[in-house]
Symmetry: C2
């Protein structure tokens, strides 16, 4: 370990020389230098996802896990776990492009929003002072603006005298209307600047961050930009990141998301020709842990029972205090959450679903990296959370990936359409990949499709066992049968042949992967059951099932029904919302009514803690298999 | 002018080597290096008060004003105006001690204060979280503290999780009770810290700054510390300092008072064994310009008609934002003022006088560097301001000084107590100086006494003319007569012989000085008349005259009556309050009732602008002479 050691890092074809700073492994070097690299297990050497390619400099001998998870060909090509690779002099490594890719392009909000934003600007022609009107500058602005109160910063007060005189007593007042109709004076700008008033809504998902640019004058989101959450380098799921922050402090994880939000807002502003200084408000949603990291709050106690957050209520913070580089007087408001595992993103999704505007009971299922479920109507709401998500984002899955280019996202079996040939059924399978590039792995929706096909064709039995080829019943079509082979001495399903894949190596779904999916879908299904039982609602009384979240919005509802992730009885009543959390966050800054609704929801949702619920445990075990309940 | 030039500066017997930084004169060098030096005219070379002694290095030739105002002996001894002295290589100068001296030792508040302070601490034993009680940390603290709202800083939120767990869920809540009975949570400290809760009350006078250390638990001021306002180097009066800030920016003047307050609070805390971090609240009063400089607001528009401040309402600012180094979560509240020239110090003095608790009409006369007058009772109040003060603080007076050591503060004539010898009256004069040191000059109360004696003995006529010895009527006692001589070819009164003085040079009251006093006392007297006329109150109906302020509290009321500064009719109804502004400021943080009274007073006092009042002009001219009206 040398203090002045550097290694070469190639990303997107460009080579950077990066100081190792004495770090013991390449993952730490890359993390400290802010390269985006996915490390779902947080660098513990178990997931095999933080792959880099050693271009120059001899890598150390592969460790046991590398030998187990990487083929001889990939090892020979220099692929290694970054978390196990020791930096060496003259070493040059390459970060494969897939680490920074995402398919989760958040969609733009189409619906017109209520136009009653939290912030307003008012152009004021102040009466010039005279010996008959000696009111102080501040009183002059307050009375002209109609504001009852003010919370000008020290800096704003210090420049107030010059600001109001720069353009002959023509000023524009920035007014916070969140709490009172009369408003609170936030800032005073010289001249007439009332023609622009921008806000941003940011949804910080564990996997994906989406930022919406919102014109607060017309209450319209005009653009959206999303990226993989760069905290991926600290782990795929919230618990891994919490563990990381306990070891290394909250600061690096906090700084990573602040830096990323700043970079995203810069991009978003630039491509819309908006000045960052014209962005006056940032509303931020996300699960409770992500909001903690964003605000720099310590999420340690969320990570262990009884799962206690520092704060879930809405916070209004000075953007400058958080280091968010928009207008210097701008505020950042975090949306309120419900509990440690039912966060502000769920509150925003509830708002976006409009399920509170209905008398009938609806179910909202938001599956991203976690799975949250909400049940209720305009009178009552109950919610719970399950740790179901990571499997759907590729974690713990042998060839699992997130929603990146080449991820197998749809898989289907088509029986031959020849009734005369029913005995000799062969059929064929079909798959699609994100952006139609060579397959790089299996993402959640692909996995759901594959297991649904295997169940429907009989290759997986009701207990979830992936049958060996010689065990398969006669009825299994040959297109499936021929793919039921072995991988690493266990039964596996060949999803994509080597010549279809990015790395030239076949992609399999393993027996273990099916077990992971069973656990995940059982958790969701049991959560639904527990909520229904607690509220004494029959599943037949559920009018609509809203699907939301990074995975929830992309999965094929038919496959979800087939594997029992959602109950059969709701077939035909499913509605896909897309990025409901982002849409709800946009709504919250364009409408004071919605903003208040968010607080009301956060305070009034009945939270069901599943970890201590015997009903949940029973339902979880019942849902583990694939048989009809 | 050399970039690396330094000069030696001796202060209090210690020599410092100070970089000139290219400054053109020694006053600027001293100002930039934070030496305390009085420069009443702001460095324009007209007042002759910023004297330093050149010890080594040839001073330049004396300028015309130096030749006029400094005797040959003093010039020969190396005394020069710092504002006209050009820094030279190997120069060493000495700052005479008197520049840093003050007599205005603010007095401690004796009266018991209402114990209902703006801030409270509450020790809380929080219920530890459990799976049945998953409330977030913040909600746990809020409900235990009884606070309805919170305004924790980003930093406080970021450490909240650790803070409440450091001592096993034993914490102390810091609660702002200003606005609501339930209070607003300001900070959370680990463990039980409720045994200490300190505040400070600071009164920033143009000439003197006084800081009170207040125990907010017992509502008692336990110590007071005062210093000359170091802004003296930027000018003696508010207008000179405003002019300085227009040339050089608000920042240096702002920084000077922030640095001084920090230094004073450090001294005050140290000598009372109080940690600065245990001071949670600073209430600051002062005239409107001083409060502007303290908060860094630009007072430029106060300096010219129509005299518009940036803000006069009470401001609550983060101590950290202002650079006041007390508890990191502490707030600084500035008391509300009434207008550009009737400031928060007057509001505090009104509170301290308790004139609002009376049905009878009272008059409050607060004379520091400015003179403010308030008239009224529990039902109504009216106020005005006169620029009367500077003369009373030594400005424009030939041998005038502030309340420093050696200042002649009392002067009296005692006729011989021998009725048989009435024809041949001789009598004798007597003077005292502050701290009984050799006379250094004449301060306001001394000047008032001298003029009263000259009037009463006939040496000054009713028009204010100081008679030449040969014009004196027979009745003038010889002790006075022999002192009526010439100084610089004009009639003058010998106040102190050369052997009585610090500098070995006689001290005179000049004809011009009497004129200055006439203008000053006429302004006060006319202000009183204008207020009475406006309110249609007879002077005989004034129940009490309260005297306050740096000069108001030290002057001899009999002399004030003799020269007509206050009306004869109130004799016997005069009450001296001392540092009423400081006392009122202490009251404002120990009592929410008083704090609210301050806001009520600031909003409801009828302000009379004298500069545009024809009544005032008439009264001013009438009061210019010394005859009975």
């Amino acid at each position: 370990m040398k203090q002045n050691q550097t290694i070469g890092v190639i990303q997107d074809g460009r080579q950077h020389q990066v100081a190792t700073g004495g770090a013991a492994d390449v993952l730490s070097v890359l993390q400290h230098s802010r390269f985006t690299i996915a490390a779902p297990c947080g660098g513990s050497g178990t997931c095999g996802k933080c792959l880099v390619r050693v271009i120059e400099g001899d890598p150390t001998e592969p460790c046991k896990m590398e030998q187990r998870l990487l083929s001889a060909a990939r090892l020979a090509a220099g692929m290694r776990f970054a978390c196990r690779l020791v930096p060496a002099d003259a070493m040059v490594i390459e970060i494969p492009r897939w680490h920074a890719e995402t398919r989760n392009k958040a969609t733009l909000v189409a619906a017109a929003l209520e136009n009653d934003p939290l912030l307003a600007k008012r152009a004021l022609s102040l009466a010039p002072p005279s010996i008959e009107d000696q009111r102080p500058d501040l009183e002059r602005v307050l009375s002209a603006s109609g504001c009852a109160t003010q919370s000008l910063s020290v800096r704003a007060l210090q420049s107030l005298a010059q600001d109001i005189r720069r353009h002959g007593f023509e000023v524009t007042a920035l007014i916070d209307k969140e709490e009172e109709d009369h408003g609170r004076l936030l800032a005073v700008e010289p001249g007439v600047t009332a023609a622009t008033l921008w806000g941003v809504a940011v949804d910080i998902g564990t996997t994906t961050v989406a930022a919406y640019l919102v014109d607060l004058l017309s209450a319209r989101a005009i653009d959206v930009y999303s990226e993989i959450n760069r905290q991926a380098e600290f782990g795929a799921d919230v618990v891994t990141r919490i563990t990381y922050s306990q070891k290394h402090g909250v600061a690096p994880v906090h700084q990573a998301i602040v830096d990323q939000v700043n970079a995203m807002l810069t991009s978003l502003a630039k491509r819309n020709a908006v000045a960052l200084s014209d962005i006056y408000l940032a509303a931020v949603a996300g699960n409770t842990t992500m909001l903690h990291f964003f605000s720099g709050l310590d999420p340690a106690a969320i990570g262990v029972s009884p799962f206690i957050p520092v704060a879930t209520r809405a916070l209004s913070l000075a953007a400058a205090d958080l280091g968010i580089r928009i207008n210097p007087y701008a505020r950042v408001v975090t949306l309120p959450g419900i509990s440690g595992y039912v966060g502000a993103d769920v509150v925003a999704a509830i708002v976006a679903s409009r399920m509170r505007e209905r008398a009938e009971v609806s179910l909202l299922i938001d599956i991203g990296t976690n799975g949250e479920i909400v049940l209720g109507n305009g009178d009552w709401l109950a919610a719970c959370s399950t740790a179901a998500g990571p499997a759907f984002e590729g974690a713990q899955i042998r060839f699992g990936v997130g929603g990146v280019d080449g991820a197998i996202n749809c898989f289907a079996f088509y029986p031959e359409d020849n009734p005369d040939n029913a005995e000799q059924n062969t059929g064929h399978v079909s798959l699609t990949t994100i952006n139609s590039t060579p397959a790089s792995g299996i993402c959640g929706s692909g996995m759901l499709d594959i297991v649904a096909v295997l169940l429907q064709t009989g290759a997986v039995d009701e207990t979830g066992r992936l049958l060996r080829q010689d065990e398969l019943p006669q009825s299994v079509p040959s297109a499936i049968r021929t793919r039921c082979i072995e991988f690493e001495s266990s039964p596996a399903f060949l999803v994509a042949e080597a010549d279809q894949t990015r790395d030239g190596e076949a992609i399999y779904l393993t027996e273990h992967d099916v077990r992971e999916l069973q656990l995940a879908k059982a958790a969701i299904a049991a959560g639904i059951d527990t909520l229904l039982a607690d509220a004494q609602v029959q599943v037949s009384d559920v009018a609509t099932v809203y699907l939301a979240g990074g995975f929830g919005s992309y999965m094929n509802p038919e496959s979800a029904l087939a594997v029992g992730l959602i109950p059969q009885q709701v077939r035909g009543r499913i509605e896909v919302l897309g990025n409901a959390a982002g849409i709800g966050t946009v709504m919250s800054i364009t409408s004071r009514t919605v903003s208040r609704q968010c607080n009301h929801i956060a305070q009034n949702v009945r939270y069901i803690e599943l970890s201590s619920s015997p009903d949940f445990q029973t339902a979880y075990i019942q849902h583990m298999g694939f048989g009809e309940l």
